[in-house]
């Protein structure tokens, strides 16, 4: 599926997750955040960078892992990305939705 954000065409799946991380930019991330009523701050971006690093290193993501991130605690994670923080933050970060459903 192709989605156009700020005149840039990006590939997404049917849930709106980027399928090609090379198409990701901070601007695109910020636009996806807006769709979830999130105005990005430095702290948001710090979390997004952490998520992208974890994914690049092939480390699985979990809410539990946030505790050890050294970036924020779980409570803040929920405040920054309300309504399913892992689902929302990964979408903004341009990485696949974590597979915890097994």
């Amino acid at each position: 599926m192709i989605k156009t954000i700020k005149q840039v065409e990006i590939q997404v799946n049917d849930e709106g997750y980027l399928t090609d991380f090379s198409q990701w930019t901070k601007e695109i991330g910020a636009e996806i955040a807006k769709e979830h009523d999130i105005e990005m701050t430095d702290q948001h971006w710090e979390v997004i960078s952490w998520i992208q690093e974890r994914v690049a290193a092939n480390d699985p993501l979990s809410v539990r892992g946030i505790k050890k991130s050294g970036v924020i605690d779980i409570k803040q994670f929920y405040e920054l990305f309300p309504g399913g923080p892992l689902k929302v933050s990964t979408k903004i970060a341009g990485v696949p939705k974590p597979k915890s459903c097994i």
Binding site: S62, R64, K75, Y78, K87, K99, C101, I102
Partner: protein, 417 residues
Amino acid sequence: MYKLVYMKNLVILGAGTAGTMMANHLVSKLSKKEWNIHIVDQYKTHYYQPGFLFLPFDIYTEDQVKKVGEKFIPKGVHYIQQKIEKIDAENNLVSLENGPLAYDLLIIATGSKIAPAEVDGMLSDEWHKSVFDFYTYEGALALRNKLRDFKGGKLVVHITEMPIKCPVAPLEFAFLADSYFHKKGIRDKVDITYVTPLSGAFTKEFCSKSLGYLLEEKNIKLVTDFAIEQVDFENNKIIDYAETEVPYDLLVTVPTNMGDEVIERSGLGDDLNFVPTHPNTLQSLDHENIFVIGDATNVPASKAGSVAHFQAETLTDNILLYINNKPLKEEFDGHANCFIETGNNKALLIDFNYVQEPVTGNFPFAIIGPLKLLKESIFNHWGKLAFRWIYWNVLLKGIPIPFVSRNMSTAGKNINN
């Protein structure tokens, strides 16, 4: 010239479902002149864990879910009933409570267990009084006694976080509770709520869509995306990070599931003490002479006895290949096969793997079944009950189940639905 022949040691850690099956598979396949097989477990009793679902509802008795573990260890395998202190993977050594045991090849089958202390307030004075698990023998029994006297109120069935052993068990618990209270004639006095950290009741998305009707039909309320922060045991409610509160009179929770502490002590696990394992060969990612099976792995398959059974067949072949210095088979596909009790003597059957979601169809034979996939039937329920016999008499002994292969078959499945 004399040729010195040293006996080699294959050590299996854990004599649960997976470890016991491996002992039975390997005893007839490894040369007795070259290999000693040892299996280590600190506990005497082997529990039939699927039975813990039925114990609280007086469907099974205590005797039906436990036997002496040693009975299932074959002759020719050295059974060591001792605590495992540490695995020293750099030196190929396992420290047991009475001394070290050297290995040439190690199989980790130490399973997973509940860790209620991971959530604030879960493990309080109310544990096994108003807050219960049913993933332990003690928890299931305490819950049975509680349910016998339960007169009504709010029953909350809750999952803390994924992954958990037998992911459908809490849902089955809710369904069976509905039947149980109906039979007791007090269903109208019991309010059942199912609370999950996932976005739907079923752990597989397709199931959530096609089986959502079951919850409605049974009048079970659903709370999704609930990430628990604490159990407020003084005020009888669970609270999540988004400050949603769910009140209870009786909380039946599935606590965080974690691998054994020995994995943490040995520095071999991830955040949840599961051992990083190749998903298709079952070899440890860090040590080539260590293999991992069953709930102890971090592979993205269900933590279930059927999975361990299918893994055991692949792992047996791979251990023989490894011993003969041949490349391992990347064969295991995440195959799982689970009955789901839906109450009123009916059950569903699902059959899936790493990539194929559960679908409808017939099992194990394409046209005749006789079991129906993803559809409630009485025959499936008999299948589930018959499984207890199969477990003790077929599965643990490493005997393949007729017509059910280690890799998932697409025959009889309606793949495009």
